[in-house]
């Protein structure tokens, strides 16, 4: 282990020498964010390396307009909300799902299948599944959409806001003021999309893209590999998560996604509208499409005053640079989504770096 860490240090020094400045590596996966903090990697590396937490947490990147639309549905007496637990505390303009749960119509699910089950158990309610997340949760939504149609379950409505990570990486690198030298690519998203999916990013922007699993050693190895590529100016796609990630990914899941969703322009917190980044149900699923059945109109995107989640997600600011961080915005009283989700950069920063100071 020590040998690998020493090697990482050497590669970081080489890369820093090549660039003539600090290296910025962005991770785009909430689980990497937590793993990096938990293992103490944020502070274990030399000053020449900065790890940025990018738009990898599905809760954090979900735009305010979508959150407000969900809260509007939650106010309806004829609807029941089925949501992954992470979404429940995200604040909108008027409260959060948690503050609206007194009517008993907000249900936490751990799988899209649970939403279908809830629809069967509550035939007098429209059960609205809050379908968020990346290419990992999207195929599950698609499977359940197909099952609902086949089983003629008419009271399950799907409100899809699934996101694709590659267009977001593209958008980040297109921003003039970005400071990203390489990406540490997500493990489980890559299980589905395959490591080859990052090739267009490497070809267009000449930035290393390295896939890693979630063990700290794998993350250290990935950082070594990224720095080696920077030092030798050989940007390429590499994967260290051989056990689960192939070059082509899970073709069955990709086909299921492709057959169920249209790829559209969609809004991301911090990044705004990104072309070809959001999955919406195809026309054939109109009867279970919440947007069509409940006539949901796009809500205006309004930022939370003082909240810097957007800039943090783009790697332009660190959480402690936000005026609300750890003063009015804490895990107990979150104002922005990056503090709500345990996989958010602010929550991880709050939990791990504050504690370190106390010790």
């Amino acid at each position: 282990m020590l040998e690998r860490i020493n090697r990482a240090y050497k590669e970081i020094a080489r890369a820093q020498k090549t660039l003539g400045r600090k290296i910025n590596i962005m991770e785009v996966c909430g689980t990497h964010t937590v793993s990096i903090f938990r293992a103490g990697l944020k502070t274990a590396f030399p000053d020449g390396l900065k790890l940025l937490s990018g738009p990898g947490c599905p809760v954090c990147i979900t735009d305010q307009g979508y959150i407000d639309a969900v809260l509007t549905i939650a106010d309806r007496d004829d609807c029941m909300i089925a949501t992954y637990g992470d979404m429940i505390r995200v604040p909108g303009k008027k409260g959060s799902l948690e503050t609206k749960s007194n009517k008993g119509n907000i249900k936490i699910v751990s799988s899209a299948e649970d939403a279908l089950r809830l629809a069967k158990e509550n035939p007098d309610k429209k059960v609205v599944f809050i379908a968020v997340g990346f290419s990992t949760t999207a195929p599950a939504t698609a499977v359940v959409a197909n099952e609902a149609i086949q089983q003629e379950i008419k009271n399950l409505l799907i409100f899809s806001n699934h996101k694709l990570v590659i267009p977001a990486m593209n958008a980040l690198l297109t921003q003039k003021n970005h400071r990203i030298d390489a990406f540490l690519c997500p493990g489980h998203v890559s299980v589905i999309i395959g490591s080859d999916a990052y090739k267009p990013i490497v070809e267009k922007f000449k930035k290393p893209c390295v896939v890693a699993g979630f063990e700290p050693m794998q993350i250290i190895e990935a950082i070594s590999e990224i720095c080696r590529q920077i030092a030798e100016n050989t940007p390429q796609v590499a994967s260290l998560y051989h056990a689960a990630v192939t070059e082509q990914g899970n073709k069955t899941a990709q086909k299921i996604i492709e057959e169920a969703f249209d790829i559209t322009t969609g809004c991301w917190r911090g990044l705004g509208d990104i072309e070809n980044s959001t999955l919406k149900l195809k026309e054939k699923f109109s009867e279970i499409d919440a947007e069509k059945q409940l006539y949901i109109k796009p809500m205006p995107e309004e930022d939370i005053p003082g909240c810097c989640c957007g800039q943090i997600l783009c790697g332009l600011m660190d959480p402690p640079d936000c005026g609300l961080f750890s003063t009015s915005c804490t895990p107990d009283t979150p104002i922005g989504p990056c503090m709500v989700s345990s996989e958010g950069a602010c929550a991880a920063w709050f939990k791990y770096t504050r504690k370190k100071r106390q010790n």
């Binding site: 990898g56 992954y84 899209a112 997340g133 949760t137 499977v143 689960a244 069955t252 299921i256």
Partner: protein
């Protein structure tokens, strides 16, 4: 939401499976990995198996989960 756990399939009927993860029984769908067999170790994400893993990799992750469990216990004790 990005969390996934490895588990061994102990019951399989169509695309519905029960998998064992460190003694916990997890209901999962195998629609995304149609060629899966009884006894295979799968990676489960939000109720769906997303890939088949090899035994060695699964053991490493189970060990890591056990370590994290111990770490979290100590972690919570420290902060409490």
């Amino acid at each position: 939401m990005c969390l996934a756990v490895p588990a061994r399939i102990i019951e399989l009927k169509g695309d519905e499976a029960i998998a064992d993860c460190m003694g916990n029984r997890i209901e999962t769908k195998t629609t995304l990995i149609p060629h899966v067999k009884l006894g295979d170790i799968i990676l489960i994400h939000a109720g769906f198996a997303i890939t088949i893993l090899d035994e060695e990799e699964a053991k490493k992750t189970w060990q890591l989960l056990a370590d994290l469990e111990n770490f979290s216990r100590n972690d919570n004790t420290d902060s409490g």
